[in-house]
Symmetry: C2
Subunit: 390 residues, 2 copies
């Protein structure tokens, strides 16, 4: 029998993809290249482009807009740009080629935020070590489906569940953090953008967080699953999801708890339940925890929206102060609020804190730099998870 030479095999395979040929001889470009001094070089092969720019999260913003940096073409038709040293973080970025925004074709590491896909990289040696995959025991991330009988729109729903290292082989029961996404997000957001599994793996390995189950449901009542993961097929996501902040999520939330407590080895008691969320998920966490006022001993509001629109009528949002008082009287181990100084929700959170002060409810308030960003929400998750179930 004729032997197949490995080298031939490699050459043939390397050229077999239809999508390879367009790169020409530029297949070996490394971009981004993170240097030891925390500067980063971007490269793009574009011989016919007239103008190439790079736009990234580390750049200063002015009125929501980033002013992109110009890249320069070298003699090999490769456009390059090198940053100054960057603080440790996870950053997203895009290229602008003759005005068209695109991801970096030499970087396969991408995240989707609503309808926008961006390239990402990590600058280590600092806080981003929490978001990196390190050589520690890893938990399991499962995408599964559960039944939500009280959801009249989409009762078969997708959910993401993190179980900590050792869950499958131990007899222990674990506490649970319910972790909710923002508007435009779904059951993928905290894993992809929030790096929740890496954060938990790392903090648990260091003994800084208790091993816990983290439950990430989809908070959009009419959306059974993330875009592309339901029978709706592939479509372009948007913010205009109906039934998101009008009571449906809150009223159907007991189905999520029932599913988790009937299907996982967890502690089904208030002192072992936490709920936290960002933006709209902070809104949901606020209202779920006071509407079911004896259910959660830990509440985390990350840059939360506070109240629904003026036209929303739902019993869920009535009697805010009374139900918060009830929640306070029942006892809450930790009520934790965090927001960035430039967040557009800053003022409404300030008002909400006054309400809490009036009813003499204890809470921890963390004010950080920055605005309504995933960088902040990752940091808030790192902080909050170290305070839970202790």
């Amino acid at each position: 029998m004729k032997k197949l030479l490995l080298l031939n095999f490699l050459i043939l395979l390397s050229s077999s993809g239809f999508s390879q040929q367009a790169l020409g001889g530029a297949g070996n470009i490394i971009s981004p290249e993170v240097h030891e001094d925390n500067t980063v070089t971007f490269r793009l092969y574009a011989p016919n482009a007239r103008e190439v720019k790079v736009s990234g999260e580390w750049m200063p913003q002015k009125e929501w807009a980033t002013i992109p940096a110009e890249m320069k073409m070298n003699k090999d038709s490769v456009w390059t740009y090198t940053t100054k040293p960057l603080p440790s973080n996870l950053y997203s970025y895009s290229f602008l080629v003759d005005g068209v925004k695109m991801t970096d074709p030499n970087n396969v590491h991408l995240v989707r935020d609503v309808a926008t896909v961006s390239s990402i990289f990590i600058i280590g040696n600092g806080k981003a070590e929490n978001y990196s995959v390190n050589d520690v025991p890893h938990g399991t991330v499962a995408r599964r489906w559960y039944n939500s009988p009280s959801n009249k729109e989409k009762d078969n729903r997708r959910i993401t569940i993190y179980t900590p290292p050792g869950y499958e082989t131990s007899d222990e029961s674990y506490p649970v953090l319910y972790l909710l996404h923002g508007m435009g997000g779904d059951e993928e957001a905290w894993i992809a953008l929030g790096r929740a599994s890496q954060i938990l793996d790392n903090l648990i390995a260091q003994g800084k967080a208790k091993p816990m189950v983290v439950v990430m449901p989809n908070g959009n009542y009419v959306q059974e699953a993330a875009p592309g993961e339901s029978s709706k097929g592939f479509y372009k996501p948007n913010f205009q999801l109906p039934f998101t902040m009008e009571g449906s999520m809150e009223s159907s939330f007991p189905d999520v708890i029932d599913f988790v407590e009937n299907n996982y080895r967890v502690k089904a008691e208030k002192e072992s339940r936490a709920i936290a969320g960002l933006s709209m998920g902070g809104f949901h966490s606020l209202h779920i925890s006071r509407y079911y006022p004896d259910t959660f001993d830990y509440v985390g509001l990350f840059s939360p929206a506070i109240m629904p629109g003026e036209n929303v009528k739902s019993p869920i949002y009535e009697n805010l102060e009374e139900t918060l008082k009830q929640q306070k009287e029942n006892g809450v181990e930790l009520y934790w609020i965090a927001i960035g100084k430039t967040d557009f929700l800053y003022k409404s959170v300030e008002d909400f804190r006054k309400t809490l002060d009036q009813i003499k409810m204890n809470y921890v308030y963390r004010e950080t730099e920055g605005g309504h960003t995933w960088s902040n929400w990752r940091d808030y998750l790192v902080e909050l998870t170290q305070l839970l179930f202790k």
Copy 2:
């Protein structure tokens, strides 16, 4: 307390991403748009581009290269192109903007094949219904880590496991399909490119496939996890992984079986074990199944590589005919080989079939149109899974 208007909230959120501003007024573009007659329209807003083309898997290829189609700019600076009606399938495509290959910024649905990320869409009403998410019960897809004591390089390894609908709540034990990727792939390939969970969900719901557990390990001995999912961080994947077709995968494979049979409710017997793989994974399936010749009752070789390079010396690859004879004598319920007519591995598979004929080993041979493509491998998975454990 001041109420936050939902409309304001939406407007603010919509403009808050740094990555939004570059799109200008073009945020509402729909691309691709799949029409009822199975034609597809692509759109790209690019006022300053001189030339925009689209290149996709449905286009004829010539010597591994696709000749892209030219898009035309309309008065709103949107470049468009509409295909002829396309046969039902999952297709990947890219744009070429002034010669630079890019994904479609209006399509968040992407797949990575080695180092190339492409946009994708599905044409339904035909065989691609098997790859679509339909309104049927869904299994669970878990990414977890297992210990492989016989792997001296990376003994903590990531693995993808599909458990069928009902697994978590039944007492039943299930048969197992070990499903192996090709060179350059990893434990994500069969889920992302192969649509394995959709295929199994759909065939099980129709009663065409038995409920089974599908185990997708990483077949690269020195790679503990897919790019970005290990402590190696984010990097650019390539084909030149060492230790892929030299015996390491085969010799450490019992660790995978041990892990599955000790951690899942599965039937631990030959008649309930299948192994299948594509290209390099077909090579692994061939050699694992004959090296452990009384372990698998079902073997699937999809466009398989047959023999390693001439310089590879490993006891795993010695005595091919003898061990195949032994496997045959021990009994194999189904030995299934499939390849496309234009696959560059066609000749070596033809030679291998002669070897099987010489030793009078029964096998099923399926010859299809096309070459070394995921389109074929998805179809082969659809066919094979309907033949297993019956």
